[in-house]
């Protein structure tokens, strides 16, 4: 589904991603872990098409198409979804109108007729339930005055509505209490299928107890320095990141 080859990217001349290689297949859940400043969120931003990042080298192929050539909205319509680490508050844009507009544009792009109001409402209700998202929030301004947990649940609610092929969850667990974490994880687990894939970016192993990954990658200094299965996450929890940093430096020295 997603093939990232030797991806180099930076902001204002500063290199942040220094050669990422990653392949994600349909039905897979990949966790990307790593210390602060290793480039995790930058990777998410580059995949979603944030314009202040310059890709200097490498390529990203999504479902056979060159992702890097696409505008952010086209990526979303093709099926890439980024659950933001810090969802933006937009006063005056109602949550539900925003979703309706997004869904309509995605469906038009795919050559599908717009959902009728009744069907939209039905789906919206069903998906709200999935993430225990308060119905009152649906009609409010987008994220305005939402608590941290409500904002994150709103991200997963949107994910559920838009049904993307590839979802990137950027530190969705940060700032969540254990109950909210459970609700968000439950939602994600229900949405997992053999047709879609997830990249879960997290600093902590905790989220991975609820959303069990097929693969775990450790990002350090702009590169994936270690890949493994869910046991790697546990090892990181025990030993921290320092041993990996040392290993990475040794490797760099030998090259």
């Amino acid at each position: 589904m997603l093939i990232i080859k030797n991806l180099h990217a930076g902001v204002e001349g500063k290199q942040i991603l220094k050669g990422i290689n990653l392949t994600v297949g349909a039905g897979e859940v990949h966790a990307i872990m790593g210390p602060n400043g290793s480039g995790k969120s930058s990777l998410a931003s580059v995949l979603a098409g944030k314009e202040n990042y310059d890709v200097t080298e490498g390529e990203v192929i999504f479902q056979g198409k060159n992702l890097l050539d696409m505008s952010p909205e086209v990526r979303a319509r093709e099926g890439v979804f980024l659950a933001f680490q810090y969802p933006i508050e937009i006063p005056g844009v109602s949550n539900i109108n925003f979703l309706k507009t997004a869904l309509a544009e995605i469906r038009t792009y795919k050559g599908l007729p717009p959902l009728d109001a009744k069907e939209f409402l039905r789906q919206s209700k069903e998906k709200q339930k999935l993430v225990e998202f308060d119905a009152k929030l649906v009609n409010r301004s987008l994220n305005e005055g939402f608590s941290g947990g409500e904002k994150k649940r709103n991200e997963i609610f949107q994910l559920a509505m838009l049904e993307p092929a590839l979802s990137i969850l950027d530190e969705t667990d940060s700032g969540l209490d254990i109950d909210a974490l459970r609700i968000v994880s439950k939602g994600v687990n229900k949405l997992r299928s053999s047709n879609n894939a997830f990249i879960i970016i997290t600093h902590y192993q905790r989220l991975l107890e609820y959303i069990v990954p097929d693969f775990v990658h450790v990002l350090y200094n702009g590169r994936i320095v270690k890949s493994g299965t869910k046991e790697l996450a546990l090892e990181l929890e025990d030993k921290g990141y320092d041993w990996l940093k040392e290993e990475a430096h040794e490797n760099a020295a030998t090259i």
């Binding site: 909205e73 979303a76 005056g92 301004s141």
Partner: protein, 474 residues
């Protein structure tokens, strides 16, 4: 540019002389004649404003004064060369029909170049004038000894430029009187259509008197015929009807809100290209009265200059001013507001928001003046601007002058661009850039539009916003 270089200056001087000579003022009182004479003297001294005048510093009208205009609507038909000939036609009727607010049960008053078209058939379905409301033409009212006083108020000597010119030469407009304690069952929708088959200066004068404990709700639409054609789905902004004719509107409205009376006043300005709109409104509030003003300016007209002056002449009044200006093309939209706190314990709140597109220019000047006697004043003012194009500009100037010591006053002014983060968030959900910008403009405007109390009017304004959100922002 000296007054002598301005063709319109010469035209109005000749016009006033004709007026004096032709005995065209009918049965107007001698006081009103004196008022006209002194206003004319002041105009002759001041001429048209230039950027050297503090109140017109950012609004240079010289480019429009190079054109020639004929005087429209002189009292007694003293206009030159039949300038008043053009009145109702199908375009005017269509413009009026299209200005109507869907789902709004209102009594429609159609004014063409300031003259009430009682039998135009527009809004005939709206039924009778609501009980408690009296409507007269200013042509009648100014000759009525009992009403003359509303036109002959001696000015404070500061009146000049456009207001002086209007006082010297006005002939018609709408006089509204609401009986004490009357609660009219429906609002008035006043549709002002301006049109000409040659360049014209039109100077309507309106007076509204809302008596004790009465309530009045008014929606005013300001349009030109071609605008309506543009809104019917044709591309681009319209030109004034009659081809390339330019219309200069110099309108003056005085609203008196008596003790315990309430006025809800919405103005929707959508005239087309070729229009220069100078609109002065003075509101005089008496004890415990409430006045709400909602002003919306949309792309089209070359120049819009609104002067909204609120005179709080007695205590315990309440005033809310909400404004939204959406400017595009080469348009210049200037909102000057004044809240004059003369007496104690009055409350005023003002929120104006602007969206500047393409090569447009916006000006906001909000003055709050708190007199020494006006203790316990609460006065708040906020102006926020969204500058969308690199070629658009805004000059925002809050002005607070406070001479009382026990007051609460605040003001704020911001100028910004689209939030890149908000834009990215919307696009990351599949929403195209233009649609996303449209959503953000709507969101920005929402703070103002949500204040409109009549849902049908709110929907109408939102529809106009959507209509004018541009396809290109270059």
């Amino acid at each position: 540019m000296t007054p002598q270089d301005i063709p319109l200056y010469e035209e109005v001087v000749n016009g006033f002389n004709r007026l004096s000579a032709a005995d065209a003022l009918g049965r107007e009182s001698s006081d009103l004649r004196k008022t006209r004479q002194s206003a004319f003297e002041r105009f002759r001294e001041s001429g048209f404003p230039t950027i050297k005048n503090e109140d017109w510093k950012y609004t240079n009208i010289a480019r429009w004064l190079k054109e020639e205009y004929a005087l429209g609507g002189l009292p007694g038909g003293a206009a030159a060369g039949g300038a008043d000939a053009k009145v109702m036609d199908e375009n005017v009727r269509a413009a009026a029909e299209r200005s109507r607010v869907a789902e709004l049960d209102a009594y429609i008053v159609l004014l063409v170049n300031g003259v009430w078209q009682k039998d135009a058939g527009v809004g005939a379905v709206a039924g009778a004038i609501p009980a408690g409301v009296e409507l007269l033409t200013v042509a009648e009212a100014r000759q009525d000894p009992a009403l003359s006083v509303y036109f002959e108020r001696p000015t404070d000597g500061k009146e000049r430029y456009f207001t002086a010119l209007n006082t010297a030469l006005f002939s018609d407009g709408l006089f509204i009187r609401v009986d004490a304690s009357a609660l009219p069952e429906k609002p008035l929708h006043i549709i002002h259509v301006f049109t000409g088959d040659r360049n014209l200066l039109v100077q309507p004068r309106h007076v509204w008197v809302v008596n004790r404990q009465a309530e009045l709700k008014v929606i005013e639409s300001v349009v030109t015929p071609a605008y309506a054609e543009a809104s019917a789905g044709e591309t681009g902004d319209g030109v004034a009807a009659g081809g390339n004719a330019k219309i200069w509107v110099n309108s003056l409205t005085e609203i008196i809100v008596h003790t315990d009376a309430k006025v809800d006043h919405t103005v929707i300005q959508t005239p087309g290209e070729g229009t220069r709109l100078v609109q002065h409104t003075t509101v005089r509030q008496k004890r415990q009265s409430l006045y709400n003003n909602y002003n919306f300016t949309f792309p089209g007209s070359d120049l819009v200059r609104n002067d909204l002056q609120i005179r709080l002449e007695e205590d315990h009044t309440e005033t809310h001013l909400y404004g939204l200006y959406l400017a595009a093309g080469q348009q210049l939209v200037d909102n000057h507001t004044l809240v004059d706190h003369q007496k104690p314990a009055c409350f005023s709140n003002e929120l104006y928001k602007g969206v500047l597109l393409e090569q447009s220019t916006g000006v906001f000047n909000g003055k709050v003046y708190v007199h020494r006697d006006a203790q316990k004043t609460n006065a708040f003012q906020q102006n926020n601007n969204l500058v969308i194009s690199k070629k658009a500009t805004i000059d925002s100037k809050p002005e607070l002058e406070i001479f009382a010591d026990d007051v609460k006053c605040s003001h704020g002014s911001t100028v910004g661009q689209f939030s890149e983060e908000a834009l990215f968030y919307l696009r990351a959900r599949g929403i195209g850039e233009e649609t996303a910008k449209g959503l953000l403009i709507n969101a920005f405007a929402f703070d103002v539009t949500e204040k409109i109390k009549t849902p049908a009017v709110e929907a109408h304004v939102n529809q106009l916003i959507n209509q004018h959100i541009p396809v290109s922002h270059a």
